[in-house]
């Protein structure tokens, strides 16, 4: 029978998959796989494409919108003294009050909130476009990332394309009421183009930067995709 051995050898590239069975190679290979997925996600992100929005009636009742804190649902916050500290590659760094943020145009949107676990809910949100806040504080338009820290010691970061997306909000209302404590009062990120764990609550600082901090993403640092994009 002609050339059966050579035909068999031509299958040998399949054996490369065996590298995933080697304990010392498995971790790096899987991290590379996630990094490649993140890179492909960022490359194909459509700056002006909007996530689907829904009618008011399609949103779940507020009491069916899950609280999904990682630690405490009511971190210790002095609401009277609360400020958002904005720093980094900005011309006007400083402490910004909620009223200063609310003074910018208000956006109200019913969007789908997708959790990495697989559940999803349509909720009603309102807030200020992060893009408008970045303009207000004179953020360097060429800066690469926006990183936030939170009153519950959570932290996250997103790339500038997402930060400037028209549906990315600094959210201060849900269901036409001020955010309740479990949902992140007084201010949270609301990003219909990101998974839930990217949408940090209880914001306290925001840094415009070209270099991701060592603590870049609470869940991303533990093995989830940093990008977490939808």
């Amino acid at each position: 029978m002609p050339q059966t051995r050579r035909e068999l050898l031509k299958l040998s590239p399949v054996l490369a998959l065996g590298a995933f069975a080697v304990p010392g190679l498995r971790g790096p290979l899987l991290r590379a796989g996630v990094a490649f997925s993140d890179w492909a996600s960022a490359e194909t992100f459509r700056d002006a494409h909007l996530a689907p929005t829904y009618a008011d009636i399609d949103a779940v009742a507020l009491n069916r919108f899950p609280y999904n804190g990682y630690d405490v649902l009511e971190p210790d916050i002095d609401f009277a003294a609360w400020r958002l500290e904005i720093r980094g590659e900005v011309t006007k760094p400083g402490q910004y009050t909620l009223d200063q943020i609310k003074a910018l145009p208000k956006v109200r949107q019913n969007t789908r909130h997708c959790c990495v676990e697989g559940w999803d809910v349509i909720g009603r949100f309102a807030g200020t476009r992060l893009a408008d806040v970045l303009t207000l504080v004179g953020a360097d338009p060429t800066a690469r990332f926006v990183a936030v820290t939170c009153a519950d010691d959570y932290y996250e970061s997103i790339e500038m394309a997402c930060a400037r997306h028209p549906q990315t909000l600094l959210c201060y209302e849900m269901y036409d009421h001020p955010l309740d404590r479990g949902h992140g009062a007084p201010l949270r990120l609301q990003i219909p183009t990101k998974l839930g764990y990217k949408q940090a609550k209880y914001l306290t600082t925001m840094t415009v930067t070209n270099v991701l901090p060592a603590a870049a993403s609470y869940w991303g640092d533990q093995g989830y995709s940093w990008y977490g994009g939808l």
């Binding site: 290979l29 992100f45 996530a51 689907p52 997708c114 697989g118 559940w119």
Partner: protein, 226 residues
């Protein structure tokens, strides 16, 4: 004893390569997918949550949700890459005609099923695959396409919102993705039993491409003999 027929080159390299690559990829994607599903083992609302079953009691891969997602996000590229290589080479070579189930195969399905399941007479084999095989393979290929498209929607429901709408939105797409997995799980045991029943020559053909002493004479050879 029947006379020995000349060997036939049944499976081109691309078919064999993508078959074995995706045998691994489908296994990894199924096991890691079950671990991902166990993070929210329901197709209903989050509140109130009603679990269907706990897949973590089955064999799963990745240890925790983040680990399972890493496997899934790595092997989805391998699965899609092999799938696209298969599709392109099958179309360009015309080899897809051996496997694609078409309307003229319909009359041959029942006699073959009767032979396999009800001890009916064995219909004469005239080509590489019988009509029932073509139906099974074509359905499984469709499941591959369905799992890829629904997987893309689950991965990027906002970027691919138009595609999501075709499947009934993000929430429904999760169901279709699960259905595609069930399709693979329904195919694989029957496939393995058939491979075991048909012996070494049949199995070796998926390794070397060549089938020794095939149970049929290909149409091209019959043509030449005439």
């Amino acid at each position: 004893m029947e006379r020995t027929r000349a060997p036939i080159y049944e499976h081109p390299w691309a078919v064999r390569f993508t078959h074995w690559t995706n045998a691994v990829a489908v296994t990894v994607l199924t096991l890691s997918g079950l671990r991902i599903f166990s993070a929210f083992p329901s197709f209903g609302p989050k509140i109130p949550q009603q679990d269907l079953f706990d897949p973590s009691s089955l064999v799963t891969l990745g240890g925790w949700l983040g680990g399972a997602l890493a496997w899934h996000f790595t092997f989805m590229w391998i699965f899609m890459g092999a799938g696209l290589l298969y599709l392109v080479t099958q179309i360009l070579s015309g080899h897809f005609r051996t496997v694609l189930f078409v309307p003229k195969d319909i009359p041959g399905v029942w006699p073959m099923a009767r032979h396999y399941f009800l001890f009916g007479p064995k219909p004469p084999q005239t080509s590489q695959y019988n009509p029932l095989q073509k139906l099974a393979y074509t359905t499984t290929l469709a499941m591959g396409a369905l799992s890829m498209l629904t997987g893309l929607v689950l991965y990027k429901p906002a970027q691919l919102s138009a595609l999501a709408a075709i499947f009934g939105g993000y929430h429904q797409t999760r169901v279709w993705h699960f259905v595609a997995m069930c399709g693979f799980l329904a195919f694989i045991p029957g496939h393995l039993v058939m491979v075991a029943l048909h012996g070494w020559h049949n199995f070796a053909a998926m390794l070397t491409g060549w089938k020794k002493n095939p149970e049929y004479t290909p149409a091209s050879a019959r043509q030449r003999a005439r």
